[in-house]
Symmetry: C2
Subunit: 229 residues, 2 copies
DNA sequence: CGTCCATTTGAGGTGGATCAACCCTAGTGG
DNA sequence: CCACTAGGGTTGATCCACCTCAAATGGACG
């Protein structure tokens, strides 16, 4: 069934509230190198690329949300990152994607051919520098996430998650989570039940408020920061 | 926790500066760019740099072993990577180290100033490409490790660890682990007791043999690969 | 030969997983 | 417009893999 939410107002917020330390990554690179960027839409739950698949494109989320993940042979899943409007994903310096990517909700992306970027990086050292910086940002997130997965308690993980999502997608003090409890669990190395219990406990403590399971208002960021260890 | 500008001369012992000839990742970059590399020694347990400290140098292990880690405020530690002879570590595209680094045993490193590398990358796009590729390799390891920390059982983690160390430091079918059980636990998100019990169980099953707690020979890699999920 | 740690092993506790209802709500069709 | 339904979410009861605490053992080094 086709879906009407090709409109950018459906899921994510098309106006990215992040103050970029530099200009928009894609714009910086594509503008500088005069590359062609196209747009493309994926429906909810649609695969964008698979693990170990050749990396033909690099993507930027325009609207919607994407999960990057790895699977074990028996189906256990680890989500390495959520990609929200403005985020670049699928960037590889090699020829294959190391994680799979799927649209969580209906999602529009901008994309450029990886080869074009590689070519631009070979011509313009500023482009090369930017690509390196983007990979470094991903690495930093992965390093923080290893600490979370290896050493934090369930409540600390959920507190970290809420603060991350608040920072990345809160609008007017409220966040509209695009992902379900199972996705959150697979991101945090927990079960969906444990995530739900932690959120319920925070709700009971007045740390957060709900307007529907995925609409959350943080009422006490300071106590979340303390839990975050 | 000394200032990074003093780091190499403050703690370790300087050796002779050299221009390195060999064809390894570091030499590929430093040799290509004609950079000066110095050698330096750290004693067992000595800090090489701290978390969030300015990144003045990039390092390559010549001999010995290094651990990179993050700490929580109460002392819980997550080791993100072990660096063994040949490995480059401390490479940052920003200005600060994201993890702390310590010598596990007496260690000799080769080092170059980060600014020199940055300069070389600004002049030679091949150098820039190589730096990006090295960061990508670190990211790949971190992504694999997130899957381990978030979703693997204790036995699967230990099996993965043994296969990784076997690949990276086995000589004549035997590996001499430089790190203690606590380090292994902090790498795998387990306690040292759980690591010890898993190794004992593998020993009892004949999957591995000991010659002292840190000298291990793998007798059945295939069964380890199966456990690795 | 004795001291000091690292390691192993044992016993018991527990945080989060598992299994199982139940509830809520958005979407559907009447 | 409302009743129905399906899938996501919550909550409860129980389990168990791993942690914690404790003690014994072993190996390296003076």
């Amino acid at each position: 069934m086709l879906n009407a939410s090709l409109s950018p107002s459906a899921g994510g917020n098309p106006i990215n509230p992040i103050v970029h330390p530099v200009a928009d990554p894609f714009a910086a690179v594509t503008g500088h190198a005069g590359l062609i960027a196209s747009e493309f839409c994926y429906k909810k739950e649609e695969e964008i690329y698979g693990e170990d698949e050749p990396a033909e494109y690099v993507y930027q989320v325009i609207s919607g949300a994407v999960r990057s993940y790895k699977l074990l042979s028996d189906g256990r899943r680890q989500i390495g990152a959520f990609h929200l409007p403005g985020d670049v994903f699928g960037l590889e310096s090699g020829t294959a994607h190391r994680l799979a990517a799927e649209a969580i909700i209906d999602t529009t992306v901008r994309l450029v051919k990886r080869r074009s970027l590689e070519h631009a990086a070979g011509v313009d050292v500023q482009v090369a520098r930017k690509l390196w910086a983007m990979t470094t940002a991903e690495l930093r997130h992965a390093e923080d996430h290893m600490l979370l997965l290896g050493r934090k308690t369930a409540m600390e993980r959920v507190a970290t998650f809420l603060l991350e999502m608040d920072r990345r997608l809160a609008v007017a003090g409220m966040m509209a989570l695009p992902m379900c409890r199972r996705d959150i669990g697979d991101y945090l190395g927990l079960t969906l039940e444990t995530v739900s219990r932690a959120l319920s406990q925070l709700h009971a403590q007045g740390v957060l408020g709900f307007s529907g399971a995925r609409q959350i208002v943080l009422r006490n960021r300071q106590s979340l920061r303390k839990m975050d260890a």
